[in-house]
């Protein structure tokens, strides 16, 4: 799944960057260590214990944390359908996918922790609403076809965004993203396959698939963030090699890849302005309603409260398990005198 690094344009108090603060949009901050930009410009990687500008560190913490939060919140809309998957095969696939999302969250929290923050603090920030997750997960999964549409469109958009992050200048983030991207391609294919089955089934099944695509298409395009002209963090992130392509470039790439796939599905993308532009060599598409995106980011999407409440409840209700594991580990340690990791 996926998290993007953008907030609402007008600061509303809930778009605070993260536990360590800072947004870093000024070029060449005064605390930039000598040789830092040269490393990035030669496509070398910055590693955890290297000196780095605070703004670089804070930008990464904010982006990786938001990305991690998106992965674990993203388990909810699909988890909603595990018990009602139409066959054992689909159920096994969906469980494996949701488990992958948990894993992606853990890779990313681990990457964020190399920057000197604690996972527990990041979770607090998520639960308190100080850090965000991708707004796409605030939409409901109303039918089984939504699981297919999420895999095809949402994971498709995520892949378009994440592949460039495999070359991010910060080593641990780039390495986590390589792992994520490898696993993500099965996610998109299983969604496409589920939709293909529906769209080649009965009239009712095809209508269900079309309805899901109608609802997920525009939110998927919004996942790439505001258009370049309004993007808040882009310029500095580009210079630092955190971001490689602009929001609009990635969105265009996604549209160009997806339109022929929709044809193969026999489904229509809900945009009357969508057409091939021979001159540009790209598909033109209609105006995106960014007012809707910002409303959802502000907390006014269909499921914002439900998603966060569920997350907090799961965390609190699991507290006794975490405490019991610590107590058991302590007891074993006391009895054994010492414990060391096994070496194979």
């Amino acid at each position: 799944m996926y998290g993007n690094d953008f907030g609402v344009p007008a600061r509303d108090g809930r778009d605070t960057p993260g536990p360590t603060g800072g947004t870093g949009t000024t070029p060449a901050p005064p605390d930039e260590p000598p040789g830092f930009q040269e490393l990035i410009d030669t496509d070398a990687r910055i590693e955890p214990r290297d000196a780095m500008p605070e703004a670089y560190r804070n930008t990464l913490v904010r982006q990786i944390a938001q990305h991690a939060h998106s992965e674990i919140i993203g388990m909810q809309p699909e988890g909603n359908w595990i018990s009602r998957a139409p066959s054992l095969r689909r159920k096994a696939i969906l469980m494996a996918k949701v488990q992958d999302e948990a894993g992606h969250g853990l890779y990313l929290y681990a990457a964020a922790e190399t920057l000197g923050v604690d996972r527990a603090d990041l979770l607090d920030a998520l639960h308190a609403g100080r850090q965000k997750y991708s707004s796409i997960f605030n939409y409901p999964t109303l039918t089984w076809a939504d699981v297919g549409a999420i895999g095809w469109l949402v994971d498709g958009a995520a892949i378009a965004n994440q592949v460039p992050l495999c070359r991010c200048s910060y080593g641990p983030y780039a390495r986590a993203m390589i792992r994520v991207c490898k696993e993500e391609s099965f996610h998109q294919r299983q969604g496409f396959e589920a939709l293909h089955t529906l769209s080649h089934g009965t009239e009712a099944q095809k209508a269900m698939a079309q309805d899901a695509v109608n609802r997920w298409w525009w939110p998927s395009l919004m996942m790439f963030g505001p258009s370049d002209a309004d993007s808040t963090h882009s310029e500095q992130s580009m210079r630092w090699g955190i971001k490689r392509f602009s929001n609009d470039e990635l969105r265009q790439r996604f549209v160009d890849m997806t339109v022929p796939q929709a044809d193969a599905l026999g489904l229509t993308l809900p945009d009357p302005d969508l057409c091939w532009n021979d001159e540009r060599g790209h598909y033109d598409f209609g105006e995106i309603d960014f007012a809707e995106l910002f409303e959802v980011i502000r907390g006014n999407g269909p499921c914002n409260k439900q998603r966060l409440d569920h997350r907090v409840r799961a965390h609190e209700e699991g507290a006794w398990v975490r405490e019991a594991a610590v107590a058991y580990a302590r007891k074993k340690q006391e009895r054994a005198g010492s414990t060391t990791g096994a070496v194979a």
Partner: protein, 110 residues
Amino acid sequence: MSGVSTGSTGGGGSTGGRRDWPLWEVFVRSRRGLSHVHVGSLHAPDAEMALRNGRDLYTRRQEGVSLWVVPASAITASSPDEKDSFFDPAADKIYRHPTFYEVPEGVEHL
């Protein structure tokens, strides 16, 4: 931020005053004949759970045949600040490489 090769700041091995489980670094041998390679880190209450979590997190697609977990706090790392001076002694000893030596024309298997 010292003593950990991956730069992780967590104090692995003991829970201390931390609210999260200690941090472990995970190493995977992807197949026989290869050495264990660092793949990332995770939190776990003890070594046994770290191994189990490591299996679930890093080998869901048969990526490994053997796992090591090491408390992050047990790793001592060289400092990036001393990178140049620390590794400097190796820089001017080019005679340690075979390409330093001239071999007469026609001599083979050398």
